[in-house]
Symmetry: C2
Subunit: 139 residues, 2 copies
C-alpha cells in the first residue's frame, strides 16, 4: 500500500474519530486550509453508505462553520477531487478577496502575490469543530 | 438582483424539486458535467439548516451515482466554490485519465487536448438521478 493518505505519516490531526480526521494543511498562501480525510481507502463519496456520507459531510460542514467563525473569510470553497490520490478526502478552504487566486479556484492561475491572513489557533479550531458538529448532529 | 443563478434564463434543468435543480452543463471538454443549484440565494452550505444540507448533498450524490452508472468515469470531482457567483451550487464532474486536465482539477493548467467521451442522454440521466435519490433517502 503506497497511498499517502493511508500512510498519513506527516499529519497532525486536529480532530478525529473512528471514521475520519481533520488535518490543518500548512499552506503558506491559504491559512486555515483544512483537509477532512476518510480513514478507509475508498475513492468516491458514493462508495460510502448513506449514514457514512452524512457523517463525513457533517464533519466537513462543521469544519466550514468553525473556519467561518474564527476567520470570517469572504467565501468557503469545498472540494473532493482525488485525481492524484484516489482516497476520499475533502478540501475546506477559507478564501479572501485579496488571496493569491481569488476569485479563481486555488488550483487556477495566480492573480496576485496574496495578502497574509492569520492561521487560527489549533485548539480554538478543534473546539469550534466539536461545537459545530454537536449542533449539526442534533439538527 | 443580477445573480445569474437566480435569473437562470439559459438553463434547462434535467431534474428539479422545490429546493434545488440539476443542470447539464454543456462543456465541450467535460461531457456529463452537472451543476446542482440551490434555488434560494444563499452563499454557503453552512447557511442552510441541517435537513436542507442533507437534502442538497443527497441530490449531489445521486447525480454522482447516476454519472458513474452511465459513464464509468475514472473519478468524480465534487466542488462548491462560488467565488465568482456566490449563490450556492455544486459542480459534479466526471473525469477521465485522458481528459483535458487530468489529474489536475478542471480549473488548472490543461495537460492535453483531451479525448472525447459520450454525453449521456438527458432522459437516462434524469431517470438514474431519481432512482439513486430514492435509494439514498431510504438509506
Amino acid at each position: 500500500m503506497d497511498c499517502t493518505l493511508c500512510l498519513a505519516e506527516m499529519e497532525t490531526p486536529i480532530w478525529r474519530d473512528g471514521s475520519c480526521r481533520v488535518i490543518l494543511v500548512r499552506d503558506h498562501d491559504y491559512p486555515g486550509f483544512c483537509r477532512v480525510v476518510w480513514h478507509e481507502h475508498v475513492a468516491e463519496m458514493s462508495d460510502l453508505t448513506a449514514p457514512a456520507q452524512r457523517h463525513l459531510m457533517n464533519v466537513v460542514l462543521a469544519t466550514e462553520t468553525a473556519l467561518r467563525q474564527l476567520m470570517q473569510p469572504d467565501k468557503i470553497n469545498l472540494a473532493s477531487l482525488g485525481n492524484v490520490v484516489p482516497h476520499l478526502h475533502w478540501h475546506v478552504v477559507p478564501r479572501f478577496r485579496n488571496d493569491r487566486h481569488f476569485p479563481q479556484p486555488i488550483w487556477g492561475i495566480p492573480q496576485r502575490e496574496g495578502a497574509r491572513h492569520e492561521t487560527p489557533a489549533v485548539q480554538a479550531l478543534a473546539g469550534a469543530i466539536v461545537t459545530a458538529l454537536t449542533e449539526l448532529t442534533a439538527g
